[in-house]
Every structure is written in structure tokens, then in C-alpha cells.
Amino acid sequence: MRSGWWRSMSAAALLLWGGLQVASAMEPIRIGAFLTLTGPSASLGDPELKTLRSYIADLNAKGGVIGRTIELHDCDTGGNAQQAIACVKRLIEQDRVDLLIGGSTTGDTMAVIPAVEQARIPLISLAGGIEIIDPVKHWVFKTPHTDRMAVAKIYANLRKRGLTKVALITGDGGFDQSGRAQLHQLAPQYGIAIVADETYGNQDADMTAQLARIKASNAQAIINFGFGQAPAVVTRDAKQLGITLPLYQSHGVVSQSFIEQAGAAAEGVRLPAAALVVAEQLPDANPQKPVLLAYKRRYESQYGPVSTFGGHAYDGLMIAVAAIRRAGDVDKAKLRDEIERTSGLIGVAGVFEMTPEDHVGLNADAFRMVEIHNGSWRLLP
């Protein structure tokens, strides 16, 4: 009688425990995304969120990851650092997410790093600035190329053409300023002399005054590191002043709208770009080509023209999913270790080879030098 009671009790406890196990196995994996869905950097966050939604829906339709569905929690930072911190606190404390993706901008990402490190939760940033991963932060990773790689690519291309004297013209945004710092830092290494250094406000409608000064200098090429409509104004005004020096733009303008805005003046402009914009022109043997084309087709069939920013979100999600699969659960420390072990993952930005010293895992080869030719991007050899 007594042993029967015990037996039934332990059977019940076993059932209960088993039930809990099943329940936790059914518990969704929660991914928190804090992106700039409004404000001046809205063109970044918008394709990023669309990409995350599309691929998470796809993963869930295929039965989820490690038998669990993925739940996306998103939060709009508006490109405001204070709001980004509030977003991250909400995602960690209220939504209890297992992993963070985001910071569309370097400013947003840098602002949340202290909170992320304190909460000991892995963060995959979608922003360009090198300071995010240099020096390496234990919990922080990122998927886009750094601006340093873009600068290295531009300088290497200049040397190939035998040009050594450059004029810089940059805006007053964070992206511009970070790029300008890298341009100054890397110049000696490539034997480049900066002979003019002009700036402008990102909302300015006219840059002819700055360009007239550059025209009067002895520069052999112009580098414009900028974002939004300002680079289009620079390109147009350079043409207006009859400046025939080679003009280099940064990866910040890789979008069809830049070509549309700058019009005929954009012809011949060179810039480092992610392989996505020239996916069709890559040789068939390139292992990245099928990944790029698949992403492009999927995005364009759902939302319209693809942008590299959405590609960064794709890479972030794929790195996270692969790490979750390898870890077999979403224990934060285990997940972090697995993200750091990402190796040979072919993404939209390039092939990721992360190490404890390198939390982005891309090299300058991930950038392609492209030239605008007949209103579209042409891959340079």
C-alpha cells in the first residue's frame, strides 16, 4: 500500500518533470532586434527588419531550429543612442531574449555595449564602425565590413593607378567622421598624402565652395566618405565645376538611388561595395555567388530592390542560427562561444572566419571595387 503510494508519487513527479522538459523544448528561441526603423538612418533598419522577418518565417515554416520556433522581438531606436539603450533593456528584461541583433548604426551599437556586457548576452551588430570590435569585446560581434577595409580598398586602387595625392571631403555624421579618421590613419601606410580635407553638413544643398578649394589644390583624386543625399550633391557639384579628377565614394552610397540622384555625373565614380550589388557579374565558380543570388531573389520577390544593409541582417541571423545548431541550446555563454567559432560561413558580405581576436571575420577581399558605368555597377578586375 505504502510502496504503491510512493510509486505513484514518483511516477507523477517523473511525468511532471518530463512534461516540463517538453514544455521547455517547445519554448521558442527569442531573438531581439533593435534597429533604426525611423529617423535619418531609417533606410538601414527597414531592409534589416524585413530580412529578419522573412528568414525567420522561413525557418519556422521548416520546423524551426533545434526543434524550437524562433520568435522575433523588434524595437525602433530612431537612431538615438538613449532610445537604443532603452530598447536593449526592454528586450533583455521584459522580452527575455536569448540573443541580440542590432544596432543599425555604430552610435546605437556603442551606446548599448556596457548594458550588453553587464547582462552577459551575445550581440551581433549590423553597423560598420571598427570601434565595435576593436578592441575585442567578449560578447560583441558584427557582420558588416569595417570602414577601415573600405579605406584600404580605396587606397590600394589609387596606388594601382599611380595616384598618391588625395583630397578628402566628408560630412558631419558618425559614419563620415569614422571614415575620415580611418582615411587619415591608413594614409601613411599606403604612401598617400592628404592635400586637402574639407567637410560639409549632411543636409547641405551645395558643396561647390568646398570643391572649388579642392580644385585649386594639387590633388590627383577626390575621396568622399558620406551617407544619404550629400554624396550625390558632391558628385553633381564636382561635375558642375568641371573637375575631372577621379572621384571615389564609400560603401555608404551603394544604392540605386545614389545613381538616380547624381544622374550623369555619377558616371565613372568608383567605390568599394559588397559583392551583393554585382552578384550577377561574379564568376560562376565563386562560392559566394549562389548565396548572394538566393538572398537577392528572395528579398526582391517580397519587398523590392535589395540593399546591402538587409544583407548584414541576413548574415547576422545565419551566424546566430548556425551557432544555435552547434550549441544545441540557447545557453548564452555556450552560444557566445559558438558564434566565436564561426568558420567558413558563406554570407552576403563574404566568408566569415571568426576567432577570439577577430569578431567580424571578414577581410578586405570581401569588398569589390566597382565603377558606375551606364547607370549601373560594373565590377572592376
Binding site: Q203, A209, A212, A216, V233, Q240, L241, S257, G263
Partner: protein, 291 residues
């Protein structure tokens, strides 16, 4: 250097006339109601964006521009009728806050309609730069300069030679007295909003090929236009034009001769100095408080 100086001046006058056009709209509404209409920049944005949208829908440019101006005037009238008029008699500050709200609303509506991208209106007569000695000018700049001159003359004619214009001025000097001599202040207010919306739209259409346009384009233009209006003396349309040109030339000379990093600082320092020494602006009518 002198040939560069000429380029800086040309640039400054072009940019300055953009500011002048926006400032003109500010002055107009201020004249009628003592209110600074912070939705003025949004009228400019609406004119540009509507033209781009209508052009995209297949309308020829003159027709698209005309329709866009008409639609913006309608928006201005609706704004006056449903947001400003119900608050008639409220303190000026409340009305100004209403216009800020209207600006945010219009920006939001534009965001929903046209998305976050920058849009470009093709230049009216090509992109081939015009050579003037050693300096160059875009053909569109001539359109802006010519358009500004025409609109300024038009506004001047309106205020000095037409009955509604004189009635509007009368409202600005003394609203009660104007009412006593039989001027319908409500109608005048509507007229002012409709006119300044139309003026803003025309400005937007003229400058869109130079500045590009997006749902947020009104913010910066509004700010610069407002500065132009206060430098010139709030409520004096000709003052706003001079203020705009001064601001533009100073910015361009600052960027060209001193440092491009301090360009805005130089221009705004000038605004501060003007307000410091001439609180009513360069051409503002001196107000004598009667005790």
C-alpha cells in the same frame, strides 16, 4: 583667388535664394497673424514631393508643378480651417505649437506616402553647367534666381497694389482696427495660409532638382528660411529675401575662405549678432510700446 571668390559668391547667391524663398513664406503668415508657421518647411517639401509623384504618374512637368502647387495650397487652407481657425483667439504661442504639430503630421504623412528615400526632380533645362568666366553655374540655379525674383516682385505687388494685400498688411498692423474698418480677419488668415503654402510649394519645386527631396527635407529648409526671416526682420518680406541672400553668401564665403567645418557656425553667429544689436532684425519695423 579672385576667380574662386566669384564662384563662392555665385554659390552663395544660389543657396541664399533658396533660403529667401522659404523665408518669404514665413514673413507672409507672420504678417497676417503674428504667428511663426513652423509647417512652412513642410509646404516646401510637399510641393517638391507632389511634383515628383505626379511626374512619376506620367504628367508633364508644367502640369505636375501646377497640380502640386494647387494641392499644397489646398493643404494650407485645410490646415488653416481645421487647426488654426478653431484656435482663433488663443495666445500666439499656442498657435505656434499647433503649427509644429501640423509639421510633424505632414512629415509623417509624407513618410507613409513616399517612404524614406531621397527623390530627385530632373532639372528643368538639363544638367550641363554654364561657364561664367572661371566660375560655373547650373542652369537650375538660374531658374531659382529668376523664380525668386518673380515671386518677390509678385509678393511686393500684392502687398502694395492690391486690396487684399493692403488688407492683409492692415491686419498685421492692428487687427482690431482692421476689423473695425470692415476687413474680414478670418478670410485674410485663410488667404495668408493659402498664399504661403503656394509660395512654399513653388519654392520646393524650383529647388528640388538642386537639393533633392525626402519626407524630412522641410526641417532644415524651414530652419534656414526661419533664420533668413528673423535676420531680415520678421514680417518684412523684402527683409526675408535680403536675410536669405546674406545667409547664403556668408555660408559660402565661410566654407570657401575660412573652413568648411565652421560654415554653419559663421552663418549662425551672424544671425546671433544681428539679433543682439538689432533685435527686430535688419529691416523690422521698430515697435514702440505705447504706455
Amino acid at each position: 583667388m579672385p576667380e574662386q571668390l566669384f564662384q563662392f559668391l555665385l554659390t552663395g547667391i544660389t543657396v541664399g535664394s533658396l533660403y529667401a524663398l522659404v523665408g518669404l513664406g514665413f514673413a507672409l503668415i507672420y504678417n497676417a497673424s503674428d504667428v511663426v508657421n513652423f509647417a512652412q518647411g513642410e509646404f516646401v517639401m510637399l510641393g517638391a514631393m507632389l511634383t515628383i509623384a505626379l511626374l512619376g504618374a506620367g504628367l508633364p512637368l508644367p502640369l505636375a508643378a501646377l497640380a502640386a502647387t494647387g494641392l499644397t495650397v489646398l493643404v494650407g487652407l485645410l490646415l488653416e480651417r481645421f487647426a488654426i481657425e478653431p484656435a482663433l483667439g488663443a495666445p500666439v504661442v499656442s498657435t505656434i505649437i499647433i503649427t509644429i504639430g501640423a509639421a510633424i503630421f505632414l512629415r509623417g504623412a509624407a513618410l507613409l506616402l513616399w517612404g524614406k528615400d531621397f527623390h530627385r526632380l530632373p532639372a528643368f533645362s538639363g544638367d550641363a553647367p554654364i561657364q561664367l568666366g572661371s566660375a560655373t553655374l547650373l542652369p537650375q540655379s538660374l531658374w531659382v534666381l529668376g523664380g525668386t525674383a518673380l515671386l518677390v516682385l509678385g509678393v511686393r505687388f500684392f502687398f502694395e497694389r492690391t486690396r487684399p494685400g493692403k488688407a492683409l498688411l492692415a491686419c498685421s498692423y492692428n487687427r482690431t482696427a482692421a476689423q473695425l474698418v470692415g476687413i474680414n480677419v478670418r478670410v485674410m488668415l485663410r488667404l495668408a495660409y493659402g498664399l504661403s503654402a503656394g509660395l512654399g510649394a513653388l519654392a520646393g519645386i524650383l529647388i528640388a532638382p538642386i537639393t533633392f527631396s525626402s519626407y524630412e527635407a522641410g526641417v532644415m529648409l524651414g530652419l534656414k528660411g526661419f533664420s533668413a526671416a528673423i535676420v531680415g526682420g520678421m514680417g518684412n518680406p523684402m527683409g526675408a529675401v535680403v536675410g536669405g541672400l546674406l545667409l547664403g553668401v556668408l555660408e559660402s564665403l565661410g566654407a570657401g575662405l575660412i573652413s568648411s567645418g565652421y560654415k554653419d557656425a559663421i552663418a549662425f553667429l551672424f544671425v546671433l549678432m544681428v539679433l543682439f544689436f538689432e533685435p527686430t532684425g535688419l529691416f523690422g519695423h521698430k515697435v514702440a510700446e505705447r504706455v
